[in-house]
């Protein structure tokens, strides 16, 4: 099939099999390797990306589901060499160790903050419950999202 969709706001036209996984399209066809494969069955969340602002598993999303839709990957959050507020909070709150879960974790948090800019701690934990991390006890990750929510709120209030 000829697929037309958007990745990180850029229009993409691709000849692909309808059952090709979004994960392979991103990693192999578009070289967006920030999306990770940890289990290939929707259990670990390392491949989380946004599909029309909703967090989805790229390993369970097929090409046929993508026509006309908007995919956002970790590479789409900030310009090359820069980080957005959420990414910066993950760095500064020491929420990153091996980093393999990080990009999926950040994308799940991103989807949450788009829907719910002022989440409670339990709402954050729930939004991240599809993302496994083996290095941490999730403490700094939750703190990073809390801080990002606060900073984004301050930014909105200041109208910057």
């Amino acid at each position: 099939m000829t697929l037309h969709f958007f990745v990180n706001e850029k229009p993409i036209e691709l000849e692909t099999a309808p059952d090709r996984r979004l994960l392979d399209i991103l990693r192999e066809d578009l070289y967006l390797t920030g999306v990770k494969e940890g289990c290939a069955e929707g259990e670990c969340g390392a491949c989380t990306v946004l599909l029309d602002d909703q967090a989805v598993h790229a390993c369970l999303t097929l090409a046929a589901q993508l026509e006309g839709r908007r995919v956002t990957t970790i590479e789409g959050l900030a310009a090359l060499g820069e980080l957005d507020i959420l990414q910066t909070c993950f760095v500064e709150e020491i929420a990153i160790q091996c980093g393999f879960c990080t990009t999926g974790m950040i994308m799940s948090a991103k989807a949450l903050l788009l829907k719910n800019p002022n989440p409670t701690e339990s709402e954050i934990r729930l939004a991240l419950s599809g993302n496994l991390c083996r290095c941490s006890g999730y403490v700094q990750i939750v703190k990073a999202v809390q801080r990002a929510a606060k900073e984004l709120e301050a930014k909105r209030t200041c109208g910057v």
Binding site: T33, E43, I74, L83, Q87, C98, S129, R134, S136
Partner: protein, 751 residues
């Protein structure tokens, strides 16, 4: 101190947050082939024939490799240094297969899809042999070949003299622990490249020792060491799971045969069933106490199922026997260890290398002893905890300023243990459905291979022309901030920003020969090597400055990336200027090489406290509160230490309550994370961490001790103890999952 003791993100945190950092699976080389391995579908038997014609006929297939067309040379997947004497048990592809998951063949093709398709087309004919999957059938010898004994290794020894005194209270406990999966988020990967003209092999993988792999590959492929380059890639978690070699020899063999780069990426299922698991174990622990709770004698009888290959099991079960001495005063110790080999996934290294397993056995035993003696669980531990100045009675090594006693006392108060005990009693009386309890777990570990091997570390440093520093130490950062810690140590000594130090990770072409990231030795041994190297570079800088600028060397010092003089405030020679003038005028780089020989291994310990609530209707256990207290010496980067400790608590909660890699009656192991449950963000409380920093080591950099493994040791025992406290039980088989708890409660109701 400017840097030591401050909180810093891991060196590559920004790149990881951006998704920019490349892991081994992200490596794409021109002309690269993709490899898929065909694993044995039977648990025990011989491969009689392999039909590869259909696979070879598929367009895009470069080759099929199997036990009948590749080398019969064998290797040990566990070999990691030159000092080990080990049996070489495995081939790249085995014709005698010992478990479902043994490698029998592999396909290399132009892309992953084609390789997978071709792998499915390979037909393997087997001759099946009887097999075993559990302790009892294996002990009965049901999978033994003629002449084989079911016991593959057995040994026993004593420390001290057996007590004769009467009036001692005897306690006996039994513990069984299941196989565990490391569950690193990054499955195993290897990229191998071969240049047939220079006969040069290059291997990239996330691993814990580049030099260890080089030994295995050079021997296996019959190549000289200098033609084998092994590069450690960004590690997506290891916990011991990436220190044994299942992919590297296979990928290297195929790259060499094809003369092109190959990539081998294991799926989650393969990572679970075809690499290493933590061994299943059974233990009977017996002890004798004085009525006041003083431990007089301890006897441990441990049975370990190595799985299909012996691998590290003989070393592992011996290492376990030393662990009680890192925590408690044991006047007399008797130990018997036995290793059996069932047709199940291969056992191997797991975070803490047997200390966590020993602690599960020992702490479970102490909880039962406390009941028997009518003592508080903390009081009993305090009675027997090692004190500063005592020695490890098995190895004879001084434990220096060990602070397990203090960790117990401080934790008891910070966790409000005594109050929680009272509150839980009231809660349990008022609530028929939920039962609450508290648990405590103690654990000790080491910081180095010493005295098992004479450990050492090499560091090389040189000053660049702009005053920044180039370092070479062989590091294998697992994501816990090793590189950052070394930058901080070097930066502190030289009084330069940590970010002015460049450190590549393990690469046999670049970094010095080293044992690798084992035995929690990195911060302690390599950190000290980094410290020594930095001191040597500082002295070299000051000597050159004295010579170049005719200044008295004894009055010179470094401050803010410049040489300063105590007698003359006007002197300020930047490191850049010093470096350039040394090159131009003295015709010498400013560079040094040093080797540090380590001769100590102080006590490093931790105590964890857990408060749980068990739902007696569902059997589900919730962790309400958690505190980890660690006797860590000087923390180099406290935030990264805390992050590791919290991760260890998560992992230990899993080991206590959920994690179990099951093998079915056909020998097939759990191959999905949907059937291997890890702790999620919603399952854990805000894990509290308290670092005790006064128990400094003599040799570690700035008095540091290890953290990465010791923090896992007390976790599962604390949680198990809390469940047993809540239920008034002494459950013997881990994990305490809902099945286990409901079974216990049903039995309790019957009685």
């Amino acid at each position: 101190m400017k840097l030591i003791g401050t909180d810093k993100p891991i060196h590559d945190a920004r790149g990881k947050a951006a998704g920019f950092v490349k892991y081994a699976a992200d490596i794409m080389l021109p002309n690269m082939a993709y490899v898929v391995v065909v694993h044995s579908t039977i648990p025990h038997g011989y491969v009689r024939q392999i039909h590869a014609e259909k696979a070879l006929a598929l367009p895009g297939v470069f080759g099929v490799f199997h036990c009948f067309n590749t080398s019969e040379r064998t290797y040990s997947h566990y070999r990691s240094n030159i000092a080990q004497e080990l049996p070489d048990e495995e081939r790249a592809f085995n014709s005698y297969v010992r478990y479902v998951g043994d490698r029998v063949a592999a396909v290399a093709a132009s892309n992953q899809e084609t390789a997978e398709k071709a792998a499915r087309l390979i037909e393997v004919e087997y001759e099946e042999l009887p097999f075993t999957t559990g302790f009892d059938d294996t002990l009965a010898g049901q999978n033994c070949l003629p002449g084989e004994s079911p016991i593959r290794d057995e040994f026993s020894f004593d420390v001290g003299t057996a007590p004769e005194k009467d009036g001692l209270i005897e306690v006996e406990s039994f513990t069984e622990i299941p196989r565990l999966h490391h569950a690193t988020m990054e499955p195993h990967v290897c990229v191998a490249d071969y240049d047939p003209y220079q006969q040069q092999l290059t291997v990239y993988s996330p691993n814990q020792t580049v030099h260890g792999i080089r030994i295995v590959l050079a021997d296996f492929l019959e190549m000289p060491f200098h033609r084998v380059r092994v590069v450690k890639t960004t590690m997506g978690g290891s916990f011991g799971g990436k220190q044994e070699w299942f992919l590297e020899p296979t990928a290297a063999l195929i790259a060499k045969a094809l003369g092109r780069p190959v990539k081998l990426v294991y799926s989650r299922g393969e990572a679970m069933s075809c690499t290493v698991v933590r061994a299943a174990m059974r233990a009977v622990v017996r002890s004798k106490f004085k009525p006041d709770g003083t431990l007089v004698a301890l006897d441990m009888d441990v049975l370990l199922d190595a799985g299909a290959y012996i691998g590290n099991s003989c070393d592992y079960i011996r290492t376990l026997s030393g662990k009680p001495f890192r925590c408690y005063r044991v006047p007399y110790f008797h130990y018997r260890g036995r290793v059996i080999s069932s047709n199940t996934p291969v056992s191997g290294a797991f975070r803490s290398w047997s200390a966590a397993e020993e602690a599960i056995m020992m702490e479970h035993h102490l909880d039962q002893a406390a009941r028997r003696l009518g003592m508080g669980r903390i009081a009993l531990r305090l009675k027997n905890a090692l004190l500063p100045g005592e020695i490890d009675r098995k190895s004879g090594v001084p434990l220096e300023d060990i602070r397990i006693y203090e960790a117990l006392e401080q934790g008891r108060s910070a966790f409000h243990w005594d109050e929680l005990v009272e509150e839980d009693r009231a809660f349990n009386t008022a609530n028929p459905r939920f039962r609450r309890g508290v648990g405590v777990g103690c654990g000790g570990h080491g910081n180095t291979y010493y005295p098992r091997f004479n450990d050492y570390g090499e560091g090389r440093l040189s000053l660049n022309e702009d005053g920044t520093v180039q370092a070479a130490l062989t590091l294998h950062d697992h994501g816990c901030g090793t590189v950052t810690a070394m930058q901080m140590i070097i930066g502190e000594v030289l009084d330069i920003p940590d970010t002015d130090v460049y450190l590549p990770e393990g690469d046999t072409a670049v970094t010095p020969v080293d044992y690798g990231c084992f035995a929690s030795r990195t911060t302690f041994v390599l950190g000290r090597a980094a410290y020594e190297a930095a001191v040597m570079l500082r002295d070299e800088i000051l000597e050159r400055a004295a010579k170049l600028f005719s200044l008295p060397q004894e009055s010179l010092y470094l401050k803010d990336s410049a040489v300063r003089c105590r007698n003359d405030e006007g002197v300020k020679i930047s490191l850049a200027q010093l470096s350039r003038e040394s090159i131009v005028k003295l015709k010498r780089n400013v560079s040094i090489l040093t080797q540090f020989n380590n001769t100590s291994n102080p006590g490093v310990t931790g105590v964890h406290f857990a408060h749980v609530e068990v739902d007696t209707w569902t059997g589900f256990t919730k962790i309400l509160d958690y505190l980890a207290v660690h006797d860590i010496g000087q923390p180099i980067n406290p935030a990264m230490c805390a992050a590791q400790i919290q991760g260890a608590a998560q992992m230990g909660c899993g080991a206590a309550l959920r994690e179990k890699l099951t093998v079915d009656k056909n020998g097939r192991c759990t191959e999905s994370l949907s059937k291997y449950h890890l702790f999620l963000a919603t399952d854990l409380p805000d894990i509290q961490v308290k670092l005790l920093t006064e128990g400094r080591s003599q040799e570690g950099p700035f008095g540091a001790k290890s953290i990465g493994e010791v923090c896992y040791v007390p976790a599962a025992p604390a949680v198990c103890g809390a469940v047993n406290d809540a239920l008034g039980s002494s459950l013997e088989t881990l994990p305490y999952d809902p099945d286990c708890i409901l079974k216990y409660l049903a039995k309790e109701r019957e009685q």
